[in-house]
Symmetry: C2
Subunit: 116 residues, 2 copies
DNA sequence: TTCGATGTTCGACGAACATCGAACTACGAC
DNA sequence: GTCGTAGTTCGATGTTCGTCGAACATCGAA
């Protein structure tokens, strides 16, 4: 659909438990990892990618589209990522800075641990 | 019961997602918080408390005993805490150092975030 | 040995969750 | 307008989870 506008919570309204719950699922942790590692890719020639963004369609995971959409919503509502719609396409990115202000060091620490 | 011996996982066998799942629940996060903040209490006169330990019975939460036991098991199996049995009593403590070696900074960061 | 205190395990229950396919919606292109 | 693309929402299904009370196991004390 790429509906008119997604709802992004005010970062100050996000609870720590909500963030942890969002991250406590293999698929979602992997999505966040992908966005962190490869989010800033310079595929300049490709599309209207902004800094740190990643196209929905490039998130190729072994799950159904509807399931991916579901996980992205969980992450969005936990304040972890932001959706930007451009025509029918949509791009996702981590809310790195805001999140770091609310929960200092959390995202970076988790991602570092995730690398083993 | 306080059975003969609890099973504590080798910290290297613990997955990040397991730890996050364990922490992603209000009651359990509160338990970990209590152990971190008040674990090192000097109630010297009271019992055989070791450094950083806390007696089972002192964890007074508004839940049934069986529920508390369940949560403690989840935390134990996630490598977050250790049980020590002494007679019929049992004491719990965070596996702070081991955990920090496996997932550097994770516990401290989460606890700091939890303080707001 | 009998009793009480301390935790653990065992169903059982409803709620929440991950997953899927199908129906739907919004947009660009023709 | 009509069609295809891109992503969301809905309904259904099976699983996991948090919670409880009851039964059980283990130990110290009387």
């Amino acid at each position: 659909m790429a509906p008119k506008a997604h709802r992004h919570p005010d970062i100050d309204d996000v609870e720590l438990v909500t963030v942890l719950s969002a991250l406590a699922e293999p698929t979602r942790l992997r999505i966040v990892h992908m966005l962190a590692v490869h989010g800033c890719s310079r595929e300049g020639a490709h599309g209207g990618l902004l800094e740190g963004e990643r196209a929905w369609k490039d998130l190729d995971l072994p799950i159904a589209q509807s399931t991916l959409s579901h996980h992205l919503r969980i992450l969005r509502e936990a304040g972890l990522l932001r959706n930007r719609t451009e025509g029918t396409r949509c791009f996702v990115s981590l809310r790195t800075d805001e999140l770091d202000e609310r929960f200092p060091g959390l995202l970076r620490t988790v991602l570092t641990c995730n690398d083993r």
